[in-house]
């Protein structure tokens, strides 16, 4: 059995609220020793981690791998490579594929493909209703047994409150969270960006904050009514944060996530009709960004998830109105979030908890670096500067407004079950 020693790194483990300089020894797929000084059982391969941060593998609760059906935009193979490059060891993929993940056959397809061609763990999320059409419930128990970790209406927000109520009640039996996309489509009404001064000047149809908040309010009320666990996807407004805050004060079983782009960009990124900044929910105002960061710090928002939504270049090289929504985010997530740490907005331990222990809790998993745990580990250099270049991205989706931007903080190595699934060219392994 091969051994891997991560030497000299600074461990940050939100799961045990521990941070400090320690070495880690991995044998096979497990961490067998965490300590200082001379580790047991040579020979081993050494990952020199001096100056680097070592943390549990990042978990992404929300991404789109596009397979089956939209393989031109991304595949499980390319998407998981992008995840690995971004430091993610587990990704939960959304069911708006073609065919959609609303039956055990398609769930099995994704799991098998991921096993054969994926490089990180892929946990499928199943549709909430058949075909995402919002009319009939899916066979939640069967899907749960087949491996679905949650159920979601992402991209097809469930309009019918009565059907949503039934779905929530039924889900109690499956004991899986409902990942809810909050949007009142009558209010968003074909809008293409945030409703505000930018949309008014650019002459583009706007999506008002209320379109999200109306749905958040309804979903919270139904969570209260049924006792089911709702996880609110990609919150984007100050109003939504306030609604979740009050819900949690009342003890309603709500969790919430926010994307890296909603924490770091505003509607002004759209100026010039930049389709790379076209996303749903849209980028909003500084006021919303600040409220989301506050919510994150307070724990009102539990997790950060990328909503990685890859598209081909040609899909986005059209008139703004016709461009699909979506930002490709797996590879830039950590670095763009570290900027918040450098600006003093949030501390690193809290930030990493939103990407590790907190999302793990939501899907009922473990996330920590303990002797005996499975070696899903992320190693990153918090100081490394790099420029986001299209050609270097592993994802087929180059659609990020960060192309050409300089970021600080780079993943140096990602390990899944003790295997190195991503290694930066600058990282040189040693053999002892």
């Amino acid at each position: 059995m091969k051994s891997l020693l991560i030497k000299g790194g600074y461990i940050i483990d939100p799961g045990r609220n521990f941070e400090g300089k320690k070495d880690l020894l991995i044998v096979g797929d497990r961490i067998v020793w965490i300590g200082e000084g001379i580790p047991p059982q040579p020979p081993y391969i050494v990952i020199p981690a001096s100056g680097l941060i070592v943390c549990p593998g990042l978990i992404d609760l929300h991404c789109h791998l596009r397979e089956p059906g939209y393989e031109e935009k991304e595949t499980i193979a390319t998407g998981t490579r992008a995840a690995a490059a971004g430091g993610f060891t587990t990704v939960c993929c959304m069911p708006n594929t073609n065919p959609p993940l609303d039956n055990s056959a398609t769930i099995n397809y994704v799991l098998k493909k991921a096993e054969r061609e994926g490089v990180v763990r892929v946990l499928p999320i199943a549709c909430l209703t058949k075909g995402g059409r919002g009319e009939e419930l899916v066979e939640m128990m069967e899907l749960s047994q087949a491996g679905a970790v949650a159920f979601s209406d992402d991209a097809h927000p469930l309009k019918n409150s009565r059907i949503l109520r039934r779905a929530l009640e039924y889900s109690l039996m499956a004991n899986k969270p409902i990942f809810k996309h909050c949007e009142d489509t009558q209010l968003s009404n074909d809008g293409v960006m945030n409703e505000g001064w930018v949309s008014l000047r650019l002459g583009l149809k706007g999506i008002p904050n209320a379109a999200e908040e109306v749905a958040v309010f309804r979903d919270i009320a139904l969570a209260q009514l049924t006792g089911a666990r709702i996880h609110l996807l990609h919150l984007s407004t100050a109003g939504s944060v306030e609604l979740v805050r009050r819900a949690k004060e009342k003890g309603i079983p709500i969790t919430a996530e926010v994307t890296p782009h909603h924490l770091t960009l505003t509607e002004e990124a759209v100026l010039g009709y930049n389709t790379l900044a076209k996303v749903n929910p849209p980028l909003r105002t500084m006021k919303d960004v600040k409220a989301l960061i506050e919510g994150l710090k307070e724990g009102v928002i539990d997790a950060i998830a990328t909503d990685h939504a890859p598209h081909q270049d040609i899909d986005k090289m059209v008139e703004f109105e016709y461009a699909p929504f979506g930002i490709s985010g797996l590879e830039t997530a950590l670095a763009s979030l570290l900027d918040l740490v450098y600006k003093g907005e949030i501390d690193l331990m809290t930030l990493l908890s939103k990407l590790t222990s907190q999302p793990a809790k939501i899907i009922g998993r473990e996330s920590s670096l303990k002797e005996g745990s499975i070696a899903d580990i992320t190693i990153f250099d918090p100081k490394e500067e790099w420029v986001v270049e299209k050609e270097k991205l592993f994802s087929k989706g180059k659609n990020t407004p960060l192309i050409g931007k300089k970021l600080v903080g780079k993943v140096m190595a990602t390990l899944v079950r003790g295997e190195i699934v991503y290694q930066d060219a600058k990282l040189k392994l040693e053999v002892r």
Partner: protein, 319 residues
């Protein structure tokens, strides 16, 4: 008839495209106006042509229907001796799904020196400009901008009043969906005029005034019209009723139609402009459409001259 003014050489022109007036300086607008003066003289001649753009190829690419704007551009280009072809999206391979970028590249490979584009989607000309190696002129993109219309509106006002600064201009109607309103806000403000917008809160929401904080807004037409030098009613569309923006045309007419009585609140020499086409009896009362206050036909005449000036400044001579 001899031309009274010469066409000045473009000395300060720095635009490769004409996308919207928010990108222009006061000097540049003055240059456009003085160039237009020269072009107007040409249009008064028996043979309304000069060879300034001979050998140049102008293409109009219209994704939306148009009478005025398209013919105006075609005639402007022809008056400068350019070759013109007109493409209508519905009868071109755009109907087969050809993308905007491919269309622009194809037309330029065919030899187009300037493409005049009208498109229902805001921002389309900006996308075209990104991939164009020649010149793009925006003839209207969705709700966003219609720079050449605003320029001919400004020119018409200047011609009638002798100046285009220090005036009070009132724009009435479906502001939020109007590219004419937006471009006029930029042009008129740049030249130093007071713009007042007027309409019901669904068509002129408070948020709109926050996007252009130097502009005034009014819900009551009579209040807006006090002492106005220029009134510009916009076309109200039937779709606005269907979208719930107005309860009925009947109520809209009661509250917002420009009629003789309301006009008396303005300055005695007030002029009426309209981008056209006019809904007779809706935004303007029938009696006013052809009154001496209305300069609607002067706008159309000036439109050709303004577009000649723009084509000349973009494509004629050195750059």
């Amino acid at each position: 008839m001899k031309p009274k003014t010469e066409i000045k050489e473009a000395t300060i022109w720095r635009h490769r495209h004409i996308l919207d007036l928010d990108d222009f300086t006061k000097d540049e607008l003055e240059l456009i106006f003085s160039t237009t003066d020269g072009m107007k003289d040409i249009l008064l001649r028996e043979i309304k042509m000069v060879p300034a753009l001979r050998g140049k190829r102008i293409v109009t690419l219209f994704y939306e229907p148009s009478t005025r704007t398209r013919s105006s551009f075609e005639l402007a280009a022809k008056s400068l001796s350019a070759d013109v072809i007109s493409i209508t999206a519905s009868t071109s391979s755009i109907a087969k799904g050809e993308s905007l970028i491919d269309t622009i590249k194809t037309l330029e490979s065919l030899g187009a020196d300037a493409i005049i584009i009208r498109h229902p989607s805001a921002g389309a000309p900006y996308l075209a400009a990104q991939y164009s190696k020649k010149s793009i002129i925006n003839a209207g993109d969705g709700w966003h901008a219609h720079p050449t219309q605003a320029l001919l509106d400004l020119y018409t006002i200047k011609e009638a009043k002798g100046r285009i600064e220090g005036l009070k201009i009132v724009i009435v109607g479906d502001i939020i969906h109007s590219r004419v309103a937006r471009s006029n806000i930029w042009g008129l403000s740049l030249m130093g005029n007071q713009v007042v917008l007027c309409g019901p809160p669904t068509l002129l929401p408070p948020s709109f005034l926050r996007a252009y904080p130097w502009v005034k807004g009014e819900t009551v037409l009579e209040n807006a019209l006090e002492g106005a030098d220029v009134v510009m009613p916009l076309r109200i569309q039937w779709e606005r009723h269907q979208g719930g923006f107005i309860p009925s045309l009947r109520e809209y007419i009661q509250l917002y139609q420009i009629n003789k009585q309301r006009l008396s609140l303005c300055k005695p020499d007030v002029i009426i402009l309209h981008p056209g086409p006019v809904n007779e009896g809706v935004e303007i009362s029938q009696e006013l459409s052809y009154s001496p206050h209305s300069l609607i036909q002067a706008q159309v005449r000036n439109g050709v001259a303004v577009r000649m000036a723009l084509l000349y400044l973009l494509c004629g001579g050195q750059r």
